[in-house]
């Protein structure tokens, strides 16, 4: 029964994918969209069933299908593990996935390749489910690379534009750098414990005496590099903003709500490994904090509505890693969930705006959309309040817990995180003010066509906004349902349960004030003073550096890509020809010897005979006289 449920869960999206690939075109746009949506919705229903089962029994379900790869000291099954963590992930992956599928039916309706879009989305859900429910690291890796592939396909969905293709390629390759780290981490773990299975690994580590801790730390570090690639942390974050080239639902689903949280999922899944590698945990925390700050600063000056949201995503992911670095896995998971709600809502809202403006993404050409698109405005406002940490919205609780954890472990990181939060509030409201308030700054024609999107677009928005508002309820401070639910996963005793004391309330107050401060600055700057960001040429000074994302792309190009390319040219033009010449040189040497030797053949019989006689003498005397 469990096996069947798991198989239905995984295979329905795959079936949807296959149907859409082979018959999508002939079925028509609406039908193919419906098939895609229903496939994911079925998975969602199954997830809910599994969730019920797990909450009632409190035990995970293990499903083993068959042997996959045999390696001498480890046997890798193709199997699934459905426990609290994976089912939680499943719920919001399939749940938000269904909503976004629904949304896409309307959003992508003008695209001639809509059936393909749904095929890819279904394939993505399939791989994401595989990633989440895999019972060992290698099955996770199937999903891990699979979602990377879907991300590649969907970023480059409009494949006629080579810039988009570049972005897609970049995403795939950067992810692969992380994947190599993940692989190496797997190798180390595999050779240390002879297993890649989570359950076995957990018992092996718990039961192991005198562990080789440095090696384990190295493994953890490698795994973290993998997480960096997928979850867009420094130094592998630059692909995510570029990934906004894809259609907006993709940005919402893959590059905000689900795929990018895979790194957090993996770290949480392997918490027993990371708990032992305390050095690596510090590294994670520091990188998380820096990422969140750097991305937030870049987000301050971006003018592309989706880029702002992209950097905001990177920044929020950084906060989650900050929490992971302190071993506060449940806090990170909590933020993943709330973030999924409000960020998906924000992206879908921005998609609605872009849809309304027929592809316009630059905020400098927006404004005053509040009246034309009220539902979009209100849902986005709610989500912005949530992400800014305004009290009683979901983001408030989760972000506050992260900062609280940070405060308990490291004041500097807490400060960095708080600054990033203030900036978040600022740029989110900058976005809101520039987009929805004041007068419309676009062309007359666009203005003429301004309209609220259809119900297929607004319904998911409303649902997500509701979730963004009340999502915080699953883990209220001091009375956390989530912590209890996830408790069986973690080895650590939940001794650090925060008592709500003065410190906590003070910190909460500070966070709220900070958020409000950010909103206030944005209000003053972009509503009162009616500033509009300068056009590209007029950006100077620090903002130019920020606007150009600290020139990180250029630096990467100069440091990694360009040398490899010139090395390639050098190899092609010199080494290859050189080696080839060396081989031909051998032939030429033989040729030359022959040419020189040919001169000995004078054709003069007398000379031949003379030499012959000499040779005869030499041989005969050697044979008879040498002894």
């Amino acid at each position: 029964m469990d096996t069947n449920l798991a198989l239905i869960l995984v295979l329905t999206p795959l079936l949807g994918f296959l149907v859409n690939v082979f018959f999508g075109k002939s079925l028509g746009k609406t039908v193919s969209g419906a098939i895609g949506t229903i496939a994911v919705a079925i998975s969602f229903v199954v997830s809910v069933l599994l969730f019920n089962q797990i909450t009632s029994t409190g035990k995970g379900i293990e499903v083993t299908l068959f042997d996959w790869i045999q390696i001498s000291n480890l046997k890798i099954n193709l199997g699934f593990l459905l426990d609290q963590l994976s089912v939680l992930w499943l719920l919001f992956v399939t749940g938000i996935g269904s909503l976004i599928h629904l949304y896409s039916i309307s959003y992508m309706h003008d695209d001639e390749n809509m059936h393909k879009f749904f095929a890819y989305l279904n394939l993505f859900v399939f791989f994401m489910i595989t990633l989440v429910i895999g019972s060992n690291l290698l099955v996770l890796f199937i999903g891990w690379e699979g979602v990377g592939l879907c991300s590649y396909l969907l970023i480059g969905f409009w494949h006629k534009n080579q810039d988009y293709n570049d972005a897609a390629k970049k995403a795939f390759i950067m992810n692969r750098i992380g994947d190599l780290g993940l692989l190496i981490g797997m190798f180390i773990i595999g050779s240390m414990f002879s297993t890649l299975d989570y359950a076995t690994l957990k018992t092996a580590i718990a039961g192991a005496s005198n562990l080789n801790l440095p090696l384990l730390s190295l493994a953890a570090l490698c795994l973290f590099i993998g997480a960096c690639g997928k979850s867009a942390q420094i130094p592998l974050y630059t692909w995510l903003p570029d990934a906004m080239a894809g259609p907006t639902p993709v940005s919402a689903l893959i590059h905000a709500a689900t795929m990018v949280t895979a790194g957090i999922f993996m770290v949480t899944r392997l918490n027993f490994v990371f708990d032992l590698a305390t050095d690596v945990q510090s590294v994670i925390a520091i990188i998380g904090a820096i990422t969140s700050l750097v991305a937030a600063t870049i987000g301050l000056v971006q003018t592309d509505i989706k880029k702002v949201l992209a950097y905001s995503t990177v920044s929020q992911l950084g906060l989650m890693f900050l929490a992971l670095g302190f071993g506060a896995y449940e806090v990170a998971v909590f933020h993943v969930i709330t973030h999924a709600f409000f960020k998906a809502c924000l992206f879908l809202g921005s998609g609605s705006v872009i849809h309304g403006l027929h592809g316009e993404q630059d905020m400098r050409n927006m404004g005053g959309l509040r009246k034309a698109m009220p539902i979009t405005f209100w849902t986005m406002l709610i989500s912005s309040l949530a992400i800014s940490g305004v009290p009683f919205f979901s983001g408030f609780f989760s972000k506050d817990e992260i900062l609280l954890t940070a405060f308990h472990h490291s004041i500097p990181l807490y400060v960095v995180g708080s600054i990033a939060s203030i900036m978040t509030a600022f740029y989110m409201f900058r976005l809101m003010f520039l987009t929805f308030f004041k007068e419309f700054r676009g062309t007359e024609e666009q203005k003429h066509h301004l309209h609220e999107s259809g119900s297929l677009i607004t319904i998911p928005l409303i649902i997500l906004a509701i979730l963004a508002t009340f999502g915080g309820l699953i883990s209220l401070p001091g009375n956390s349902w989530l912590n209890e639910y996830l408790a069986p996963l973690f080895t650590k005793v939940a001794g650090e349960e925060h008592h709500l004391g003065t410190t906590e309330y003070t910190l909460m107050g500070v966070a709220v004030l900070g958020g409000l401060l950010g909103i206030l600055i944005a209000y003053v700057k972009y509503f009162k003073q009616d500033n509009v960001p300068e056009s590209n040429e007029n950006i100077t000074g620090l903002s130019k550096v920020l606007y150009n994302k600290y020139y990180v792309d250029e630096i990467y190009d100069a440091v990694f890509v360009a040398p490899v390319n010139s090395l390639s040219k050098f190899f092609r033009d010199y080494i290859e020809t050189g080696l080839s010449a060396a081989v031909f040189g051998l032939g030429k040497i033989a040729n030359e010897i022959a040419f020189q030797g040919k001169k000995l053949q004078t054709g003069s019989i007398g000379l031949y005979l003379f030499v012959f006689v000499l040779g005869l003498c030499a041989i005969v005397s050697y044979i008879f006289l040498a002894q």
Partner: protein, 179 residues
């Protein structure tokens, strides 16, 4: 060990041997040195006759006869015919460079010295010359061996001669021009 003929008390056989050997060597040299090919050929005939004499001395009459027929008769006639056919005389001989002569002399001396040194150095054990008393070289015996033990090579020799004959005819046939 080497048996040096004692000229003072030389037997008839020894005298004949020395005489024949002298003629052989001298005519051989003359064959090479005479400028006129006709003379060379005539000296060569003499040389062959003297070698036939050696054969007789060694009591192999059959070979001596065959030698005279084949060499002095057939081969030398061929030589003479060829020379005459080409109308060769000493004028046509190109004067050779000195280096060639030097080379020839050097190799002559060298190979002579080497061969003789080898022979002397190899310390041949020459004991008593045994004589079984059997007849081993009469025509009768030779014929038996030739047609018994060496039947196949004998046949092949005839084939060889036939082939050589055909080849010669083909080679000397004038090619028909422009055909």
């Amino acid at each position: 060990m080497i048996h040096i003929p004692d000229f003072a008390h030389a037997t008839t056989v020894q005298v004949i041997f020395c005489f024949l050997a002298f003629i052989t060597v001298i005519t051989a040299f003359l064959t090479i040195f005479s400028r006129n090919p006709i003379h060379s050929a005539i000296y060569l005939v003499i040389c062959f006759f003297s070698i036939a004499g050696h054969y007789l001395l060694l009591n192999s009459q059959f070979l001596a006869v065959v030698h005279i027929i084949v060499y002095s008769g057939a081969i030398m006639i061929l030589f003479l015919f060829t020379i005459m056919l080409m109308n060769l005389n000493e004028q046509r001989e190109v004067h050779r460079p000195r280096i060639t002569r030097l080379g020839a002399i050097v190799s002559f001396c060298l190979i002579l010295i080497v061969l003789i040194t080898i022979f002397i150095n190899s310390k041949p054990i020459v004991g008593e010359y045994d004589s079984t008393g059997e007849d081993f070289q009469s025509i009768k015996v030779l014929g038996k061996i030739l047609l018994d033990e060496y039947m196949v090579p004998f046949e092949f020799a005839s084939v060889l001669l036939l082939v050589a004959m055909i080849g010669t005819v083909l080679l000397s046939k004038k090619e028909k021009l422009n055909k």
